[in-house]
Subunit: 327 residues, 2 copies
């Protein structure tokens, strides 16, 4: 069934019925002019992010389920990066009249799955028609006892990153080369067992929870635009420099294999590729890191921003990564 | 200058510098992973709405300034409709690489103007590229002592509406007919002094503040999709009926004149035309309405939904109005 046969009101009713909130802090959930919340904690966190067809996603790569899941993850990642607990979700979905209700159903199954994973409730949103491309945006509200911003990095802090870097960007590169037009690459990619986890990482990222990191972190950000650009943001906001060591960067075996196959520079992808959704944070050198799974990749300095390459050569760290409206 | 020459970071910095918040409840404003707020009042209101090029707006009709102003108004209107005070704004803006920085500047002047009018602060958002159409969405957070929802209408309540109905929909109709293709209509419309206020009403609506209405209202909604559809929402949520009288509907002289000229049914536009952004509310028959500027258009009943036309004939009220993905 096409969306223009289902009608907005039917779709909204469906959303409303599926997503009734049982949170005691929610006084009015989805379905009024605005949601009404009475949060228990003092500090609220609010973030919003959009995903546009043709810019952030390609419907020939992603399934509707993955897309819905990712929309929630990228927003939740921002709440985690502030040391918060995500609580409430608001959605804006614009779809073409000729999109199918099957697609819509799968999209919202992906959203519902992510909501379960992160323990959040849908409290409102807007569903409208789009002339051409599909457009998704979400706002997530969370709570925190004490937010960790990008501002607090101190000289001597160690710089840490969770997980591995570059997997998502490499996954996207694999998807691009696997387009039906390039039959040889498709065949080759299918033989590459490393491809699948990288592609999954790109299409359905899982945001990193930060409750163990929060007590030790002086500054934190999630890596969405690439390590270099996001580390530069911490430096800018904290008014500090940084020195990072390329040989310390956590790279997955899958990334190394795929980069060999694709003839790509794994370190370049790990430093400038976007959408890792890992946490980048700084903590004092004497912080207790026993319970935290993260890799130390460098330290905060007075002013200079330096990259030490694998042969020990020092170059200037530039805020290179994915930037919209780039030249 | 085109946006692809300016770059996202430059544009973001500009937004950040222009919109520093001086609100004491804002702990971290625009420019981190999420905004941090410590609101003083117990209840928070959250709403989000999107506006898509080609669906919600036409760049051959609207200026960038008007568009920015309207984006804020439509969201603030939802906060007012819950008896709230708007406080914080979050923006999502997607523009094409080839859009100009002049357009962006004017858009954000319109946003800034509306922020001053409504007394709100910009705390965050997302700025991305769009493949085709321009896409705007906003989230507004407000506070309230006591929210007025769509649910509380009681049998015997009078139904009130602020301002006049149908002006915005008629303004849009005028704009459509004034397209350069139809030169005769353009000439005729220019002679019609009523056209300008109706067009303004469509392109740059002002949301209605509800502080005087809130103490007496049992149920409230803002009219965004048309009187019939939004009144039906109050009936649905309250589990009640309604009887409204077409001869009581507040119509502006401009609307009557323009409808005469355009050969349109003014009452049909007033009941099914969207984007009035007036407040529709119910209040007890004995409520003190002295300080409130609103028109009584009917009353809440047990179950039946009835429209009494100008000759006294009763017909069923149907939830007709603008609906996305309509058949």
């Amino acid at each position: 069934m096409r969306l223009n046969q289902a009608g907005e009101l039917t779709l909204l009713k469906k959303l409303k019925d599926s997503f009734r909130s049982s949170e005691s802090s929610v006084i009015v959930g989805i379905g009024d002019d605005a949601a009404v919340i009475a949060p228990q904690k003092q500090q609220l966190l609010v973030t919003t992010d959009m995903m546009n067809e043709g810019v952030h996603f390609d419907l020939s790569f992603t399934s509707a389920f993955q897309l819905g899941f990712k929309l929630v993850s990228v927003n939740v990642s921002d709440i985690f990066a502030m040391a918060g607990t995500p609580k409430y979700l608001f959605l804006n979905i614009s779809m073409n009249d000729t999109d199918t209700t099957k697609f819509f159903d799968e999209l919202y199954e992906g959203i519902a799955c992510a909501m379960k994973v992160y323990g959040i409730s849908l409290l409102g949103g807007d569903l409208t028609g789009a002339l051409n491309d599909m457009l998704l945006s979400a706002t997530v509200i969370g709570t925190t006892e004490k937010a960790v911003t990008r501002k607090g990095a101190l000289v001597g802090d160690r710089i840490y990153v969770t997980g591995t870097l570059g997997d998502s960007a490499c996954g996207l590169e694999l998807l691009k080369r696997m387009m039906p037009e390039d039959k040889e690459a498709v065949r080759a990619s299918r033989d590459l067992s490393s491809a699948q986890p990288l592609i999954c990482r790109h299409l359905m990222p899982l945001a990193r929870e930060a409750s163990k990191i929060a007590p030790v972190a002086n500054a934190m950000i999630d890596i969405s635009d690439g390590l270099f650009i996001d580390l530069s943001r911490i430096c800018d906001e904290s008014g500090k420099g940084a020195k990072i060591y390329l040989d310390k960067l956590p790279l997955s075996e899958d990334l190394k294999k795929a980069c060999g196959f694709l003839k790509l520079d794994a370190l370049r992808i790990a430093t400038t590729g976007g959408e890792d959704y890992e946490l980048l944070f700084t903590a004092p050198a004497n912080a207790d890191m026993a319970a935290i799974s993260a890799t130390c990749i460098g330290e905060i300095t007075e002013e200079a921003r330096i990259v030490v390459d694998t042969s020990g050569r020092e170059t200037e760290l530039k805020a290179e990564g994915y930037q919209h409206f780039g030249a």
